[in-house]
């Protein structure tokens, strides 16, 4: 689960991690007040940042006002104008796609003086099955780029399973970044606190880019990107409350309410499959057959009339869909039952109307596959049946050959 930067910064501050002063605002008046307070505190720079989940905000632009997603302001008036230009507008970044994302909140924060910039992140190292803290002197740069070009500039400390980041490890990281004296103490404290936060909240990633050293030798998190392990949210009611559903795709959100795992894609052939691996493989076969997958949809272990019906409804909401491939491997679930479920779902008046123009290919394999094919072939409905995956692929090709 992703959260906004302002939420991440608030959580970090609560866990003792140093962050610049700042607050979220949903109106220009609020933003003005926060900016005033920061300037009154002696700062000479305020930064107004659009709060959307997608990255690339600094290089993104809003649709109406043409404002950048991150604006540096030297006066209260500039901060007011910045908030005005962002709030209510739609920000388009490299990650949002053309549709962009509406800016409903801005984060108004102290633009602190910077002596040097670093990179810091904590995440799982899958190869070692250990949490790893990564730091680099190359702050403010994409870490992938650093990993590619100068991998020796990335320092890693692997945390022993079940333990915290040890002080000796935090010191090694700080020394490697060239921190000394007060900066060393400040850095060590931040690394320890940040790992404690990651551990306690079941975060799946914490990325601070840049981490900065101020002229008064304090190490602080200037930016923060935090994601949480969805599987662990059941034990964090407070974090669950930070979910912003308006940042999620409405169809994906609806599908999740029916226990369906749906991801909207840009193609033209919808698919409904049981199992994540087979679902990905089915998307691949659609592509190999000349189509483009319109979605990923895993109906899970129980393919019954209700799941199939809801799956159909959600796939058909997408106007780009020109064909649908249902691929179910019946193991413990019997194919003849799934076939009856599919037919019943298609008879639903709302679905029936929509599928008249769209070819539906149903491929059922596994237990009682032949009986299932007979049920579908004998139904008189506009449904093409297939048994082998190869046959299903050929039927998809026919949609595009016509």
């Amino acid at each position: 689960m992703n959260i906004h930067e302002y939420q991440a910064k608030t959580l970090l501050a609560e866990h003792g991690v140093a962050v610049p002063a700042g607050k979220a605002a949903t109106t220009t008046a609020e933003a003005t007040k926060i900016a005033q307070d920061i300037f009154d505190g002696g700062s000479s720079l305020v930064v107004v940042k659009a709060q959307i989940h997608a990255g690339g905000r600094g290089k993104g632009k809003t649709k109406k006002s043409g404002a950048k997603g991150v604006i540096l302001c030297r006066s209260v008036e500039e901060a007011t104008a910045a908030a005005e230009s962002l709030l209510g507008d739609v920000l388009v970044t490299i990650q949002t796609g053309e549709a962009g994302q509406e800016v409903k909140t801005v984060y108004v924060t102290d633009g602190v003086d910077i002596e040097s910039e670093f990179y810091l992140s904590i995440l799982l190292d899958r190869t070692r099955s250990q949490h790893v803290v990564m730091a680099s002197t190359e702050g403010g740069v994409e870490i992938e780029q650093v990993a590619e070009e100068t991998p020796d500039k990335i320092i890693k400390e692997w945390v022993e399973p079940g333990l915290s980041l040890q002080p000796s490890q935090a010191r090694r990281l700080a020394f490697a970044l060239g921190l000394q004296g007060d900066a060393l103490k400040s850095g060590v404290k931040l690394f320890m606190k940040l790992f404690a936060f990651y551990d306690k909240t079941d975060a799946s990633m914490v990325e601070v880019n840049p981490l900065v050293l101020t002229p008064d030798q304090q190490v602080i998190a200037l930016d923060a990107k935090v994601t949480f392990d969805e599987n662990a949210l059941y034990r964090h009611d407070d974090l669950m409350a930070l979910r912003d559903e308006s940042e999620e795709n409405p169809l994906e959100l609806e599908a999740s309410k029916f226990g369906l795992n749906y991801i909207k894609l840009d193609g033209n052939v919808g698919c409904m499959v049981n199992g994540a691996g087979l679902a990905m493989a089915t998307m691949d076969i659609i592509k190999l057959s000349g189509g483009e997958p319109a979605n990923f949809l895993d109906v899970g272990g129980g393919a019954n009339v209700e799941t199939v019906k809801n799956g159909f409804r959600i796939i058909l909401e997408d106007p780009n869909v020109k064909g649908i491939l249902i691929n179910i491997f019946g193991g413990i679930v019997r194919c003849d039952r799934v076939a009856n479920g599919v037919l019943e779902a298609i008879k639903d008046p709302e679905i029936a109307k929509k599928v008249e123009q769209i070819p539906i290919i149903v491929r059922l394999q596994g237990t009682n596959a032949e009986e299932a094919k007979e049920i579908i072939d004998g139904s008189g409905l506009n449904v093409i049946s297939a048994v082998l995956l190869k046959e299903a692929a050929e039927e998809v090709s026919k949609i595009f050959a016509a």
């Binding site: 099955s129 079941d202 190869k390 692929a393």
Partner: protein
């Protein structure tokens, strides 16, 4: 021979009396797996499916010499169940449960390693040696005895491959479902080692998917030590970056874990990579003929 599970398997089912555990335990018994009993804390002393229920795994080991465990307990308690099995001296722990927090798995895996046990999964379909033992949730009837070993992160995609093999007249030695999570006990490489060293396995089907670098690591091992033909398929060529495709581990992040990179590494190791999942069975058949 075969690997991991066979006629000597003495299986204890953790989460025995729950609905999932009950259903799959009865399916495994029907297949012929030697299920010695199960564990449900608080129900020790009862009988379920004509077999004893124990309060702890240690009791199942002491009284029935259980050597393998299969876990069906809910995700919040599954990490603990894995640790309990390892501490009880179980050598092979197969965890079916999906949705275990990563933090729990990092700890559970390290405990399993410390006890010298082997973990398969979590979030996996289990392991089957056709004709001998099914320790998992796969449909037993699609498998046939033979010499093709399978390694896969995914359930239904494995069944698809097995079905194609069976239809092509090729039976299977052992099919290992390693699981779709970011932290798993047995990797593609570990499973490939087992099957490469198994005299009864003549060819290997390796099914991977986007995310992580486990397939690349397996490719490096096979390049160095491979002695048998390997056919590989990588699911997720059409998946966009940054989106989790069902499995927690199936995500392309930071430009890493793409299907193209994996296919290149596998092909470079002399592995036959099929582009279409419909061609797995026929490709193995042609390599073995």
């Amino acid at each position: 021979m075969s690997v991991l599970v066979d006629r000597h398997t003495r299986l204890v089912v953790q989460g025995f009396t729950g609905s999932e555990g009950s259903f799959h335990a009865s399916q495994m018994i029907e297949y012929g797996t030697n299920v010695i009993g199960g564990v449900t804390p608080g129900k020790g002393g009862q009988t379920h499916l004509d077999r004893p229920v124990f309060n702890t795994v240690a009791e199942a080991v002491a009284q029935e010499e259980a050597n393998t465990s299969i876990i069906f307990v809910p995700p919040a308690f599954a990490g603990d169940a894995i640790i309990e099995a390892a501490q009880a001296g179980i050598q092979l722990i197969i965890c079916i449960t999906e949705g275990i927090p990563v933090k729990d798995m990092v700890i559970a895996k390290s405990v399993v390693d410390r006890h010298g046990a082997r973990l398969i999964g979590p979030n996996c379909p289990g392991v089957i040696t056709p004709g001998q033992a099914k320790v998992g949730i796969m449909p037993g009837m699609i498998f046939t005895e033979g010499s093709v070993g399978l390694i896969s992160r995914s359930g239904t995609l494995t069944y698809e491959a097995v079905d194609q093999l069976t239809k092509a007249g090729l039976g299977q030695s052992t099919a290992i479902g390693i699981g779709g999570d970011p932290v798993i006990g047995t990797t593609h490489t570990d499973a490939a080692k087992l099957l490469m060293e198994d005299p009864d396995t003549s060819a290997i089907v390796l099914i991977g998917e986007i995310g992580g670098s486990a397939e690349e690591e397996a490719a490096a091992y096979i390049k160095e030590h491979g002695t048998k033909p390997v056919v590989a398929f990588i699911a997720g060529s059409t998946a966009p970056p940054g989106r989790r495709m069902g499995h927690a581990g199936a995500i392309i992040s930071g430009g890493q874990g793409t299907a193209q990179d994996k296919k290149r590494a596998l092909a470079d190791a002399g592995i036959t990579v099929v582009e279409s999942p419909a061609d797995i069975g026929a490709t193995v058949a042609s390599l073995l003929s």
